[in-house]
Structure formats: structure tokens, C-alpha cells
Symmetry: C2
Subunit: 226 residues, 2 copies
């Protein structure tokens, strides 16, 4: 009996180590998104092709990292057959890795626009300040996402969920500017600005989704009902 208990303890210990490994990998992926969005938004507003290339190079790795993490989660599910909260943590990890992968792709798209228009600018002068603010907000949200995946604090998660409001506001503002009578820029600017604004907004959406998942898990609303 004591042996059985000891065995149970050891299995529990192995499982905890595996869960920590999942968390470490999610944090690493989130740190990558910080690096990509920092370089991409700077590349975009400053027409910096070197930064754009660097952003794209990191973004290109995101898919493989997400795949490797998903494989790890599947192996743990197969070996440990977790239930209740442990199971939900692992399923959430799959969803969070999918969001982080999309964040990498979206920031890669922002960098790609900057690269494509180089040496020209993808942003007309009148919208540089707006895109700078939007970019800084995305970077801030990505950094908070790293913190959240480290501390899994529910109050912090709730706080983040309100923080994309300003990004949405800037997204709407950009459309107001583009659709106003005095917008005289050519169609290329209109297209670039429309897509870039959308990518910035979706990036923030994913951070909100991740926060919602973390607070859902932490508040224990996810109780097994049977």
C-alpha cells in the first residue's frame, strides 16, 4: 500500500514536471511574439527593411514551435490520462498555442507589408502617429501575455481583457480617416493601411482570448459536471 502511494506520488511528480514544461514552452512562444511584434511594428512605421526581415524570420519558426508543443501535449494526454482541471489545462494549452501561432503570423504580415513597400513607406504621414500608438499597444499586450502565462493570475488576466478597447478605437479611427472626404492618398496606401490595421486589431484579440482562457481556468468555472 505504501509502495502504491509512493508510486502515485512519483507519477504526480512526473506529471507536474510535464505541465511545467508545457508552461515554459508557452512562455517561450509568447516571448517570440513580443520580439516579432516589436520588430514588425517598428519596421512598419519606420520603413526599416532589416527589422522587417528579422521579424519575418522569427515568425517563420512559430508554426513548428506550435506543432512541437501540441505533440508534447498529446503525449502527456496519452501517458497520464489526466482528468478534471489537469485535463482542462492541457486542452487550454492547445488553444493558447494556436493563438500564439496566429499572433506570430499576423505580426509577420505587418512586417511583410513594410518589406514590400520598402524603400517607400506603407503608412502615409497623417497616420504614422496612430499606427505607432497601435503598435506600442500590441507590444504592451504581448508583454503582458508573457507575464500572464508565467503568473496565471486571474486578476491580471481580467485586467488584460479590457485592454484591447483602445486598439479597437484606433482601428475604427483609421477607417474614419481613410473614409473621410479629405483622404487623398492613393489606393496602395488605402490597401496597406486597411490590412495593417486589421492585423494589429486581430493580434490584440488573440491576447484577449488567451487571457479569457487563463481566467476561465483559474476561477475554476471549468468544473467537471459529471
Amino acid at each position: 500500500m505504501t509502495d502504491e502511494l509512493a508510486k502515485g506520488d512519483r507519477m504526480r511528480e512526473v506529471f507536474q514536471t510535464q505541465l511545467q514544461e508545457v508552461q515554459v514552452r508557452l512562455v517561450e512562444m509568447a516571448e517570440d511574439t513580443v520580439r516579432i511584434i516589436e520588430k514588425a511594428t517598428k519596421a512598419f512605421t519606420e520603413s526599416n527593411v532589416t527589422l522587417a526581415d528579422e521579424a519575418i524570420a522569427i515568425a517563420d519558426q512559430t508554426g513548428n514551435k506550435a506543432l512541437a508543443l501540441d505533440e508534447l501535449v498529446i503525449r502527456i494526454l496519452a501517458k497520464q490520462s489526466p482528468v478534471a482541471r489537469d485535463l482542462r489545462i492541457l486542452v487550454s494549452a492547445l488553444r493558447i498555442s494556436a493563438s500564439l501561432e496566429r499572433m506570430g503570423a499576423l505580426s509577420g504580415h505587418i512586417a511583410a507589408i513594410a518589406r514590400y513597400r520598402f524603400p517607400g513607406s506603407a503608412v502615409p504621414a497623417t497616420l504614422i502617429a496612430t499606427f505607432k500608438e497601435m503598435g506600442e499597444l500590441d507590444v504592451k499586450l504581448a508583454k503582458k501575455c508573457v507575464q500572464l502565462l508565467k503568473n496565471t493570475d486571474v486578476d491580471f488576466a481580467r485586467e488584460i481583457q479590457a485592454e484591447d478597447a483602445r486598439v479597437d478605437e484606433l482601428h475604427r479611427h483609421i477607417f474614419d480617416v481613410v473614409l473621410a472626404d479629405d483622404w487623398k492618398e492613393n489606393a496602395m496606401f488605402t490597401v496597406d493601411v486597411t490590412l495593417a490595421s486589421r492585423y494589429h486589431e486581430r493580434f490584440a484579440d488573440h491576447v484577449v482570448d488567451i487571457s479569457a482562457k487563463v481566467s476561465y481556468l483559474t476561477t475554476g468555472e471549468w468544473n467537471e459536471t459529471e
Copy 2:
């Protein structure tokens, strides 16, 4: 011993029934995306606000259906502790439901543009034919996605994976038209056309993602390595 075997058989039977339930729900969600994209693309090219409203109403349900399906999958994982291929089928179901949810949202966005511009058109006359073709391709892909989730045939899955090439081509064509010197439409058309084209293209991407998951599962490349 015979009792044990009989019990094992019964559990296997319960599990098979549960897997079928997951499949049925995925097919239902895919059928919803067909209805949404049919109405949305027609609404978009024909400025039909009734169809747009209908599309948006169905799209609004997609999130809850995905959530309910995910909960079902988590309950099965908890009760059955599946391994190997069964586990991978369930994890794939989570990913496929996420793609179907996004397809619902993207087609809802197409309908929303039509609704917003009504009674005007969101598409200038010169691009109506292109968007009609793109819309028909998305509808066709959505219908094939339903079939694929029913038959899970690997050859069919591979066939679908090549079929978004034409959608990508039309997506690029739309940008060529918008960025050409003789594009004289106002910024509103440019914005609407840019976003709508992007939504059509992402919709097709998700069908390809779903097909890749189905063929991955069916070819058994997903063998447990330990």
C-alpha cells in the same frame, strides 16, 4: 474473464458512439458554414440585406456550437482516457471546430460589409464577376468540407488541399485591379474590397487546414512514438 471482455466491448461501443456524436456535430457545424457563406457571398455581390441578416444570424450561433462541441470532447477525454489514434481524433476535432468557428465568423464579416453599405453596393461593377467566382469557390469548398467530415477519405482530403489555389489567384487579382493606375473608385470601395477579399481567402485557408488534419489522421502519420 469473459465478463471483463464483455465489459471492455461495451466500453468500446460507448466510445464509438461518442466519437460518432463528435463527427455528427462537426458535420452540422460545417453545414452551417455552407449556409452562412452561401447567403453572405450572395448578399455581398447582390447587395441583398435580407440574406446578409440571415447569414449574420446563423454566424452568431457558431461560437456557442464550437464551445458545446469542445465541452463534449473534453468530457470524452476525461471519461475514456483514449490513447493513440482515438486521442488524436479527439484533439483534431478541437482544432477542426476552431476552424469551423472562424469560417462562420469570416463569412459573417462578409455579410456585415454588405449590410453596412446597403442600399449601396460594397463592390464596384468591375469586380462583381471576380467576387462572384471567389464566393462560388468558397461555397464549393465549404460543401466539400461537409462531405470530407462525413467520409474522412484521404484522397478526397488531398484533392481539397489543392483547391484554394484559384481563390489565392483571385485574391491577388483583386489587389492587382485595386492597385492599377486606372482604379478610380473611392476609398470606401478600396477598403471594402480589400477586407472582403481577405475574408474570402482566409475562409478557403481554413478548409485547407481542415483537410490537412483529416489526411494527417487518416494516413496514420500520427503514430505514437513512445
